[in-house]
């Protein structure tokens, strides 16, 4: 019996000491990343990882930054914030990375803020929630547009069309809930009245009940904040119920999948989206056009259709690398200061101008208002 228990303990301690001492290489720039490559949010993490790998290779092929090669160290969180915290610690303590670019979902990004703040390492988040950079945290930055910007862009367009009464319908996932909150908070600023506030579950297959209620209000437009299949079903249901007022979607549906799912019903739907979706339709004078077309061509040659999410990874990576280049060192405090000084960085998400009070650096103009016509995106002028 003694031996049996001894063996147990031995096995346990051997396993726990299975650790590898990490050798330090001084002449490389280490970029750490934790992404939701698998799991429910894999449509974010997968394309983000491919983008990071693709561009780290490109930078290295061109001789690196200040003669230093870039090394990408990445882990898969599966969208779990618990894993994100551990991997962030692993990146900081074990891999000793110089900067972290990652966090596909708002949950995983929010979860690591404590850790990066106390350890003092620059972190560029790839997630949407405005809460990540508001209030401003010393070491935390983000590159994707926020849901508040989306709501603002939509309201701006509505005002141009003389719409002042809006019916809101939102998904109950993180994205939909956060979008709903921002919409409700922002509406009064634009003089818009929310006359209905409905929600649906992520797996619901029919939203006619909520939309029938909306039909009975005096709304002049329907606004849907959601992700995944929900918005496509809402779009179909709106047409089935014969609702003729304009339908607005959020940037959450900014992928060709949405048009495929909603089919003809998507005609005339308007949504704010990053310029990447309409790269080839932009005016030649648009400063973003060369960047967008280059990213699109490179990504599509290797992996198939682009999405704006991969574009965020591109923006995050280059903002970090350019900051290291300007700082002429990988000193974390200097790199952080340089990231904060990012000005006129032309990325896929827009033109970034960060400051001590703005760790995102995008204006409403970073969003383009799109309308779906003949199964394709068109720019609304």
């Amino acid at each position: 019996m003694n031996i049996r228990k001894t063996m147990t303990a031995l096995a346990v301690s051997t396993l726990m000491s299975l650790t590898a001492a990490q050798a330090l290489a001084a002449d490389t720039i280490k970029v750490g990343s934790f992404l939701a490559v698998t799991g429910g949010a894999s449509f974010l993490g997968d394309t983000e990882l491919k983008t990071l790998q693709m561009y780290v290779d490109e930078v290295n092929a061109k001789g690196g930054i200040d003669g230093m090669q870039v090394e990408l160290i990445h882990y898969d969180t599966g969208g779990d914030s618990k894993k994100a915290v551990n991997f962030a610690k692993r990146l900081i303590k074990k891999d000793q990375v110089d900067v972290i670019v990652g966090g596909s979902t708002s949950g995983t990004s929010m979860a690591v803020i404590d850790e990066v703040e106390s350890e003092g390492i620059p972190f560029i988040s790839l997630a949407g929630s405005v809460k990540i950079v508001e209030p401003v945290k010393k070491w935390v930055f983000k590159v994707p547009h926020t849901d508040r910007m989306a709501a603002g862009k939509i309201f701006e367009d509505m005002k141009k069309r003389g719409i002042s009464k809006v019916a809101l319908i939102s998904g109950d996932g993180g994205f939909g809930k956060s979008g709903r909150g921002e919409t409700l908070a922002l509406a009064p600023e634009y003089g818009i009245e929310i006359v209905a506030d409905e929600s649906y579950g992520a797996k619901d297959t029919d939203m006619t009940a909520q939309l029938t209620k909306i039909r009975d209000t005096d709304a002049q437009a329907v606004l849907n904040f959601g992700f995944g299949t929900g918005p496509a079903i809402v779009t179909k249901n709106v047409r089935q119920l014969g609702i003729t007022i304009p339908l607005y979607q959020s940037h959450g549906v900014a992928s060709k999948k949405y048009i495929e799912l909603a089919g003809d019903s998507a005609e005339g739907v308007r949504l704010p989206a990053a310029a990447l979706l309409v790269a080839d339709k932009l005016a030649d004078a648009d400063p973003q056009k060369p960047v967008l077309v280059a990213y699109q061509t490179k990504y599509e040659a290797a992996h198939g259709a682009v999405s704006t999410f991969g574009g965020h990874a591109f923006d995050g990576l280059y903002i970090a690398l350019e900051a290291i280049d300007r700082a002429n060192s990988t000193d974390k405090a200097k790199v952080r200061d340089e990231i904060e000084k990012t000005t006129n960085f032309i990325g896929t998400g827009g033109i970034f101008n960060m400051s001590a009070t703005d760790h995102l650096g995008l204006g409403l103009d970073a969003f383009k208002m799109l309308e779906i016509k003949n199964g394709d995106w068109t720019l609304v002028e």
Partner: protein, 329 residues
Amino acid sequence: MRRLAGFYILAAGVALLPVFFPDNYFITVVGVTAGIHVILAVSLNLLMGYAGQISLGHAAFFGIGAYTSAILSARYGWNPWLAMLTGLLLTGVIAYFIARPILRLKGHYLAMATLGFGIIINIVLVQNGQLTGGPDGLGDIPSLTIFGWEVDSDLHWYGVIGVAMLAVIWLSLNIIDSRSGRALRALHGSEVAAEMMGINTTTTKTGVFVLAALIASFAGSLFSHQQGFVSPGSFSFFFSIELVTMVVLGGMASTYGAVFGAIVLTFLPELLVVFEDYEVMIFGAILMLTMIFLPQGIFVGLRNLAYKLRKKNATPDSIAGKEQNRGTA
């Protein structure tokens, strides 16, 4: 002394590791997560392994503890210990009231009911955004303070979780070798026979269910102060399944089996990350092979194998039987 020899060796290992590796990621970071998983697996093993009552909703109790601590200490500025106590109280009450109706069910129906409970709690966490922060989670949770000593580094947390883990293992070992432990195992064998022996099966089952829930809630409170951030994803149905896997992988009805399963399942993904794209595949293959070749679980299976080699005549079954009847030996 002899009965708890394995425990003392384990305790010595837990205490000595940080002395040799005070700043090692695998010890002070993954080790802490492993410790929390061990507490959860050991508590689930009391219910599943010994009493034979399956639960697919154990993560819910973990979540109730974590969120009660998080909400009370972060939003309302309560003392973390008071918040933890409130969490335990709340979990105890909920567990007690659902135990009676739920534990009347058996087999698949019991699994379904606990699964449903787990999902309900998760929906509450997601939907009650005002209170829980919704799907994006809740942050700024203060750390624990023990008699003026703030638990603020990974190494400190290793100490706290290590002590808590050893206490729970010790508790589990002692319960199993006590009268109520024998009652539990009798229950697992045959409920009717147990009743004939004078065991109040309803009370025993409710008791172990509440105890397992309380331990999980305790782990949840520690987890929430250690992480400083909670989100519903950490307490989902999938985590419940992960806990069941830990117990089954290590070997049911063995406290050390649960400890072993929890540690293996926490470290394996961390070690497998070097395989990048094949990580998930290799992980799955390891689980499959284990269940095919060591169906009683790695720990129990290997132990039985070791016995078999020593006593060539004895069959694994009689050894397994011996383990069951270990009692006060």
